[in-house]
Amino acid sequence: MAETANPGTPPAGPQTTGHEWDGIAEYNNPLPRWWLYGLYATIVWAMGYWVLYPAWPLVSGYTGGLLGYSQRAAVLGEVEAVRRERDLRGRAQLASATVAEIRADPALLRLALATGKAAFGDNCAACHGTAATGRIGYPNLQDDDWLWGGTPEEIERTIRYGARSGHGEAHVGDMPAFGRDGVLKRDEIEAAATYVLSLSGKPGIPGASAEKGAEIFAGNCAACHGETATGNPEMGAPNLTDAIWLYGSSPEQVVTTITNGRKGVMPAWEGRLDTATIKSLAVYVHGLGGGK
């Protein structure tokens, strides 16, 4: 839009805005007028926005706006809608299918793994750890050693009813306190500990006899842990010949276990978690890698 667009106008010299600072003037290159109207339009828009939407912070709170719109409420509404839709589709299927059926259906398996992962973080990680690796007294769920059985169905049952949880269907079976209850004497306990440790090639207590320990084992321990000490998942009796030690594998820890017994509690989750979540947890824990 040069001056020449209108040939009738004689050319003028450069115009300035009329502002001058220390002899420096500013050329006036006028903005198009519609641009100015655009600015006015945004101001009007802003005023409308202040009235209709949350805008101004107050001492405690903010101006809510006539429309009553809240981003937080909108997001929560969307989250709720998604949750309801998921419940309708996937979770209903999870609840009605058996664990084996879930594992056989790739789509359902993926849903169960995702659901189980989230539920594990919320409910199980407090004891078993965020990576399900457990700690002393709380089983590592990543490995292939299972006190109460490692098939998906057995895991589901353990989650549902727990162990020593007080639920009628819960796993039961205690490690007795052989020392505290006076069943075995200190040297007998040390002998038994030395024998048990020798099964996996670990050093025992100096001076204690593994042969004597073997006799004590056969008389007191084999009933639950088995003649070969490979354990019994019916009673939650661990395999004593492997590399996994729930309560530690140092001689002192083993002696403590025999002396005072062990009664780790896994709560029953039935009633606290719905069926779909429990099944998902079973599938997830099994899928961590150690499942049978």
């Binding site: 839009m1 040069a2 001056e3 020449t4 667009a5 209108n6 040939p7 004689p10 050319p11 003028a12 010299g13 450069p14 115009q15 300035t16 805005t17 009329g18 050329y27 006036n28 290159n29 006028p30 903005l31 198009p32 007028r33 519609w34 641009w35 100015l36 594992r103 790739p106 398996l109 793994l113 965020t130 990576a131 690796t133 590592n140 990543q142 490995d143 292939d144 050693d145 395999n239 492997d242 590399a243 996994i244 899928g287 961590l288 890698g289 150690g290």
Partner: protein, 501 residues
């Protein structure tokens, strides 16, 4: 030589001494009456012209518009379950199809490469022949041209339109204006309608749109693009180029004295005198310019500038002033080409009485051409040799390893397989780098992992070191993926972690 520099003043004598030809004064005097900071736009009513450049522009207009409106309807068979549209940007599934090429979101680097290529081609065009893009190919120019043609058809040429603008409202004026805006809106609506067809199966979407069953986004996009097309091509026009587009500014800093641009050959045109005076002057052996100051070039200009002021930012170099001037020169029996594609170096050489200089091949054009060729062939090579099988491996962050009951060590990985081809495929996964390692896949078999058509699939993979092995704390591990049917392979590297001894 920077573009902003005004062209040189022609030698005297000057019939119009008040007119400082080519001076900054003419540009700084944009209608700022009374020093107002805001000025109303002065409406431009370009005169129709005939000639070479007008013909070129008509052809390009027809070709580009046909391409734009027709491409969504081209079909391309990709097999069952795959879209059959030749060019499709499927936002839902995150796929872009262009004939035989299919791109995934992670192939966005091709888009980046194309943008770089486009910028370089723009630079090259600019270094060779100025604003070729602006003048002939830019959608703003093409649609404005189309809207102008409609306006001319309904309201008449420049003279009739100026008269109509000045005339009081009458039934005829209302009828003409209504018709013009209706046709504009129709074209604008069609433009928006064609746009959405690139994002969904075109025939299906046309049916849905017609029966009001299309998704709301489609209608919103059409309405938005109708509004922008109508506004930009019907009302904003040259203001888009002058105020909104950054390219004129960039172009100004990229050009040089050897770039061809639309130029007024002032050495030949000045001094401007009327045709009669020129004949008299020439008869008397005095200098007389060819420019008869008829303003045909100014009235023809869609940007509303005077090309005789020299190269300027508002000029989109559409060549219409060339056609206008050539027509006048033809009528006067003078040679054409008073305005034409020329270089600043040439102009100066002629003004100094020298011969033509032309340097199309110069470091600048060589550099741009080499870059365009290099990047273009690299992209083509990359596109031609890209893999259709993808493998990405992520080691478990926690735990890094698991000790099993027999004392052996296990590592867990999240593995994602990509099948970028239509049809379900089966892959075999193996690891290398750990002697005797065993691979397990949760819910699958390592030798036969199915991945659905044109999709990715995630698997949880477990790698076991053999019992009794004592691997180093960190062993490099290579994952090999093989397409069972084609033998195509993919590789990924990770590590196997074990407890410190």
């Amino acid at each position: 030589m920077p573009l902003a520099e005004p062209t040189q003043t022609a030698p005297a004598p000057r019939p119009r001494p008040t007119k400082k030809f080519g001076s900054r004064a003419t540009r700084a005097a944009i209608p700022a009456e009374n020093g107002a900071l805001y000025a109303a736009r002065r409406k431009i009513q370009p005169q129709a012209v005939r000639g070479t450049f007008r013909r070129i522009k008509w052809v390009l207009l027809a070709v580009t518009l046909c391409v734009y409106y027709a491409v969504p309807f081209l079909r391309w068979d990709r097999g069952p379950g795959e879209p059959s549209q030749a060019v499709l940007l499927d936002l839902d599934r995150g796929r872009f199809y262009a004939f035989s090429i299919e791109l995934w979101p992670q192939d966005v680097t091709y888009v980046m490469g194309l943008l770089i290529l486009a910028a370089l081609i723009l630079f090259l065009m600019n270094a060779v022949a100025g604003r070729v893009w602006c003048g002939y190919l830019c959608p703003q120019t093409v649609w404005t041209d189309l809207f102008l043609a409609v306006e001319r058809l309904i309201e008449g040429d420049r003279r009739e339109r100026l008269k109509l603008d000045a005339a009081p409202w009458s039934m005829e004026k209302i009828a003409l204006r209504t018709m013009k805006h209706a046709v504009w809106l129709l074209i604008a609506w069609w433009t928006g309608g064609a746009w959405v067809l690139y994002f969904a199966d075109a025939p299906t979407l046309v049916g849905q749109l017609a029966t009001f069953q299309a998704p709301a986004q489609a209608y919103i996009a059409i309405l938005t693009l109708t509004a922008t097309t109508y506004g930009l091509a019907g009302h904003m026009r040259e203001q888009v180029c002058t105020y909104m587009c950054p390219w004129p500014r960039i172009q100004a800093s990229l050009t040089d004295e050897h770039a061809y641009n639309i130029l007024y050959r002032d050495a030949r045109g000045e001094p401007r005198v009327s045709a009669k005076q020129a004949t008299a002057l020439r008869a008397a052996g005095k200098p007389a310019g060819d420019c008869v100051d008829c303003f045909a070039c100014v009235t023809a200009c869609p940007a509303g500038i005077d090309i005789r002021d020299g190269l300027q930012m508002d000029c989109i170099q559409c060549g219409l002033c060339v056609d206008a001037c050539d027509t006048v020169m033809g009528k006067l029996g003078r040679p054409t080409g008073l305005i034409g594609y020329d270089t600043e170096a040439n102009r100066r050489s002629r003004a100094a009485g020298g011969g033509p200089v032309s340097r199309i091949v110069r470091p600048r054009t060589i550099l741009y051409a080499v870059l365009v060729a290099g990047i273009g062939s690299f992209m083509l090579y990359h596109l031609a040799t890209r893999s259709f099988t993808g493998l990405s491996v992520l080691h478990d962050r926690n735990p890094l390893f698991v000790t099993l009951s027999d004392g052996s060590v296990r590592n867990g990985y999240t593995v994602r397989l990509s099948n970028k081809r239509p049809g379900e495929r089966h892959y075999a996964l193996a690891v290398e780098g750990l002697a005797g390692a065993r691979v397990e896949v949760v819910g699958g078999v390592p030798g036969d992992l199915p991945v659905p058509s044109d999709a990715t699939q995630e698997f949880r993979v477990l790698v076991f070191a053999p019992a009794g092995a004592r691997p180093d704390p960190s062993v490099p591990l290579t994952f090999h993926l093989t397409d069972v049917s084609t033998g195509e392979t993919a590789r990924a590297h990770d590590t196997f972690k074990a407890p410190s001894p």
